[in-house]
């Protein structure tokens, strides 16, 4: 069972539907006992950075999630969820994130349309179990205005070209981030979630 952390008002149902499709049981929760018992934690991608960190702080989940991460529990951050793993974000005023990963979240430069919205391709940077059964021409669905910058290149599994090279999949031990929405990326996204399932079981 996977715990999907409920920290906002957006669409997390689609994530649960997608997880169902690849045979992952999940629960949308903020309950520590439930999270502790689960095989992995997903931080979904809804809302704004500052609101999300405040919501996690208010529910006293920030330090708890840090403890779980330190114990080696797999954490998947999707879109904003991935951004929360970094040191800070400038969205809505500079706000501290979990700091699991080196890097800062900044607004996508304005020489391209913002938000970055639509299907973009993944460029492979290194091997990962996440690539299993993936085609070379993998397109996934992005919708975001902020992106991780100054990241540790060793953590970079895939990037996507949009003005700058945007970190698309990152991994550092048990911490995995996807800047796009695998739950909205058709068969490719479902394959990535299935690969994540294999990694945690």
């Amino acid at each position: 069972m996977i715990s999907i952390i409920d920290y906002g008002a957006g669409n997390i149902k689609s994530l649960q539907f997608a997880l169902n499709k690849v045979g992952i049981d999940s629960q949308i929760t903020t309950d520590e006992t439930t999270i502790k018992k689960s095989d992995a934690i997903i931080l979904p991608g809804v809302g704004a950075f500052q609101d999300a960190m405040h919501a996690l702080d208010d529910q006293e989940l920030t330090s708890f999630i840090k403890q779980e991460a330190a114990r080696g529990k797999p954490l998947l951050g999707i879109c904003l969820g991935m951004q929360l793993f970094y040191e800070s974000s400038e969205e809505g005023g500079v706000t501290k994130g979990f700091g699991f990963l080196t890097g800062k979240v900044k607004k996508i430069p304005n020489n391209v349309k913002v938000p970055h919205m639509g299907w973009n391709n993944l460029i492979k940077h290194r091997n990962s179990a996440l690539w299993k059964q993936m085609t070379d021409e993998a397109f996934v669905y992005f919708v975001h205005s902020y992106a991780a910058t100054d990241v540790d290149t060793n953590t970079l599994v895939a990037s996507t070209p949009y003005g700058i090279n945007i970190p698309a999949i990152v991994q550092q031990n048990n911490i995995i981030g996807m800047q796009f929405h695998p739950e909205k990326s058709g068969a490719t996204g479902l394959q990535l979630l299935a690969n994540f399932k294999e990694m945690i079981t």
């Binding site: 008002a9 957006g10 669409n11 149902k13 689609s14 539907f17 997608a18 499709k21 809804v46 809302g47 704004a48 304005n110 349309k113 913002v114 938000p115 970055h116 919205m117 639509g118 299907w119 973009n120 391709n121 021409e137 397109f139 669905y141 992005f142 919708v143 975001h144 205005s145 070209p161 949009y162 929405h181 739950e183 909205k184 990326s185 058709g186 068969a187 996204g189 479902l190």
Partner: protein, 253 residues
């Protein structure tokens, strides 16, 4: 590279998909969930569902449709029609929609865009504009399904919408809608010059060439159409193959 998007639009009335010509003479087409599945398989990049009646009793049926679609398909979809309050937005997002398209209500209360963008994020707030070209060559904004003209200029309103926090624009040209003679390229161009958010072109698709025209760099980021897809006149895989030959980057079907 970010690909151009092909978006079938499903007008929903009492749980069924319908297609109106110039917003009237509505004809019944099909089950929205089945159509959504078909389009997902065919390689549609996104879907749009418009609740075209939006009376209170039909609202619940529509929310059920949204939930069923979210459960069945793993591509993004936008919901519009009858969205008037932050609570309306919340209910469709909770049902599984990714974006909400706001039209008349945004004209009547622009604060709605601002408030919703703050609460749910810009990325899920779509400003939908029905525009009709006037004799002086500008575009007037219409509301209430194209029935009521406003004093707004579409280009100005698009700019204002971006400033208020809209993350995307749908530009529906009333002159070309249902005519199948091509999108209103001048409208797309005029708005594209004024804003830096994605533009979805709507109204006028009849042939594959129309898509390749409107998806050129200076016009739209996505093309929306209804009847050419619903009646099988343009199969999406064939359209995408054609666009690729025209140098337009699309996600392979």
């Amino acid at each position: 590279m970010l690909t151009k998007r092909i978006i079938p639009c499903l007008d929903v009335d009492k749980g069924r998909v319908v297609k109106g010509k110039k917003f009237t003479n509505i004809q019944d087409v099909a089950d929205p969930v089945k159509l959504a599945q078909r389009y997902n398989k065919a390689g549609a990049d996104e879907l749009v569902f418009y609740d075209i009646t939006a009376s209170n009793e039909d609202r619940d049926i529509f929310i059920d449709v949204v939930e069923q679609v979210a459960a069945e398909i793993a591509i993004p979809f936008t919901v519009g029609g009858g969205i008037r309050t932050v609570e309306d937005i919340h209910s469709v997002l909770r049902a599984g929609a990714d974006k909400v398209s706001i039209n008349s209500a945004a004209v009547q209360q622009p604060d709605l865009i601002e408030e919703a963008a703050k609460k749910f994020g810009k990325q899920c707030i779509v400003l939908s504009i029905d525009a009709k070209q006037t004799n002086d060559g500008r575009w007037a904004v219409y509301i209430h399904g194209g029935r009521k003209q406003t004093a707004l200029n579409a280009v100005d309103w698009a700019e204002q919408g971006e400033a208020l926090g809209a993350g995307e624009l749908v530009l529906n040209a009333i002159n070309t809608d249902g005519e199948k003679n091509g999108y209103d390229l001048d409208l797309m161009h005029a708005v594209a010059q004024a804003v830096n958010i994605p533009i979805v072109a709507s109204g006028g698709a009849g042939k594959m060439e129309h898509f390749s025209q409107v998806l050129q760099p200076t016009y739209a980021d996505a093309a929306l159409a209804a009847s050419v897809f619903h009646y099988g006149e343009i199969p999406i895989p064939a359209l995408k193959a054609y666009l690729a030959t025209q140098g337009i980057t699309v996600r392979p079907s």
